[in-house]
Amino acid sequence: MKVTLESSDGQVFTVDKEVAELSVIIKEMLVIEQANQDHPIPLLNVGAVELAKVIEYCEHHRNDPTIDDDEDYDSRKKPIEMDDWDKQFTIVNKEMMFELILAANSMQVKPLLHLGCRYAADIVKRMSPTEIRDLFQIDDDFTPEEQDKIEWEKQWTKL
């Protein structure tokens, strides 16, 4: 069965239902709008370029088992598996990957979200706070008092 998706800039994509259902949001929408499947499902936060990429990802991973969202699950111990295809897939620039993370987050495509976040984590790894701020253009918005407190804490956070 096919499902049509419409990106924020009006482009329409037709995909297999099981592919689209990797997105938790679409899966839920399909349950609600069972009768009304002629209209494309609007994705207001996702542009055509990103949507195409998300669909490409979902096509490849259509048969994967789902990630269980167990609270006990400590993902720090068990990083997600990345196959060669995934590695190829993540060879994009930072801006594109961040758009993909946002898209995956708004569509709730969990494995893609985790893949993107791992990409981000790999960038952040071993960087100093200053380097991180510079790279991602994040403002240092601490007050001097907060700064002192954090500084003190950090010294003891040797886990």
């Binding site: 400590d74 961040f98 946002l102 100093s128 706070p129 200053t130 240092d140 918005d141 907060e146 886990l159």
Partner: protein, 682 residues
Amino acid sequence: MSDPLLIPEILRIVFDALETSSLVAAAVVCRTWSRVAPEVLWRSIRHTQTSEAFFALLRKHGHHVRSLDILLNNSPHSPNPTHIRLARILPDTPRLMNLTIGFSHEGTQDAWLIIFQVIKDYLAETLRSLALSLRGEAELEQTVYRFTPEDAAAFFPALRQLTRLELDILPTDNVMSTIIASLPSLVKVSFKEMPSPSAIIHDHFGDDTLYLLGQRLENLRDLTIKFNQRLTSAGFSRLASNCKTLTRLDLCQCHQLNPVGLEMLVEACPLLSSVTLNDSNAHDELLHKLATPARADGLRVLSIRRCPAITTAGIQNIVQRCSSLRELDFSGCPRVLIDVFTEFDWGCMHLSTLGFSGIHQQTLQEDDERPRRVNDQDLESMYRQLGRLTRLEELDMSALPFELRLFAIGRSTIENMRRLNKLDITERKEGVMDKEMIWLATFIPSLRTLRVDSYGVRRRLLGDLVDINSLLHIELTSSPTQGPFTFMDNASDAFDDTDESDDSEDSEYSGSSEDSEGSEDLEGSEDADDSDDAGVSEDPQDSDDSDDSGESEAIEDTEDSEDFGDSENTESSRDSEDSENKSTEDSENSNESSDPNDSADELSRHLQGTWIGSDSDTSDSSEMFTADGSDSFDSEISDASDHSEDSGSESGSGMEGVDGESGEIEDDEESDDNDDNGSDTW
């Protein structure tokens, strides 16, 4: 465009993938990050320091804490003992589900009682998992928290939510019956005792209690019992009649269990996916039962270290038929020969962990032939077989009685192991060569832990290897001939003996290697592994290490020099890059030593691993820390810089560096060694 890295729910996932040192840095980037990072940072805490200030912070972030693994390491008689500090903060950890407490001092019965009271009063509703472990001195002094029946009756019934209970003692029948009656929803139980002179064997719970356990704990899936000398096959056959749902079974060193009893138990539990029977009487027939068509697919983990009855045929059964197997360890099974690799294709293609150290030994069994000399064809077959296991992450091929010829024959095989994370090639027949180390560091980027004999390894090389693969941690094991352990000579006899003295002698190996699995981030514990290994090196074939090394090196030197032209070039170019980076960093540091961010950076880098410490710029950073006034780290940083001086000045005989480094933790591990020595009494 909104920034994904300012959305907390996304940040949480990103931070999940960061290791501690990066999280510490992330926590000071901005307000949003500083709110999210502690959630992840404090969620699961292991191997902490136990300073006053740390406990204060732990209390502050107590509401994030789900898992806490803490070692109470100062004496209960000291002015401000850590168990009192712990007892004070536990009321502030309302979401604590998993608690592991280690004690390393003897005479702490009172300390336990205080902790029990707090757990009972504040954590009864949340606690799912409780592990009380003994380390160091406490491990020897088994009476440390031997529950009285009254203590048990006051404590266990309160823990209504508990599903996992792990104790480093074997409770008495009386205490066991309290546990079983009060906690019927237990899913996992583990009762381990270390073989020690003070163990009171007749106090171990017996067959009747085991029966009760099987009957009352309907949800039991995971059972671990170590060194219980009272349980017999009769008890296990009765357990088997009730415990058909067991999925994980670990019975190490329960010497009264005969092969038939084990077989019966395994046969009665069709859902078993993980079977650990180290130092047991397991034999081939049992493996045959596990490899029947109905069950073969279900087996995920099999560990049968040092089982003298297991032979090549038994292992072949497993590796051919158990296609879902993930972990297999038949290290120290002397009657398993290299033929296990040569005759058939293995079917367990999903294997991620494989250990076969110390196989192919001369045994005393009369019907056994002397193992044949391993030739190049055997090695080729072995590497071909290993090469098919593309998912291997951990490989232990230490202590083998033949030359590995890792580079000469195994090269392409090893290079194709894209996921290889940990490689153990200690106690080698041939010496370790520089180019081999460089090769491993260069061509296996996934490698994180490499264990090699320290003999002949130049300390300066280790610094270079850090530049090639900065994530690689190299564990040096002192060669048995240089260590303080002298029972090498008769080891070849003792090794195959089936009597208990040998089993318990070996036992520390399994015990301590299990411990080390759980100690990723702690520098000390990694070092402890080293000292640990010195005690384990009783494998016979190492005495002639030094003889062979020169020879094999000479053979391979010629062919390798050209192969390595490339990698050495890249290495040196990286080297210079790095030193540039370092110098800029250094100048930054000295200019802005008041800037907190850079000290965070330093801290992170310090946290990254032991070998980072041998970087040339650590001494600078130590000065910086002193100037900063953060005295807590002074000692550690200066340790690290001392260490780097060591490696600089005496690159030839760098052994002392290793020893000094591990000295801190050796107190704990000493008990293991003592155990080894004392175990002769068994």
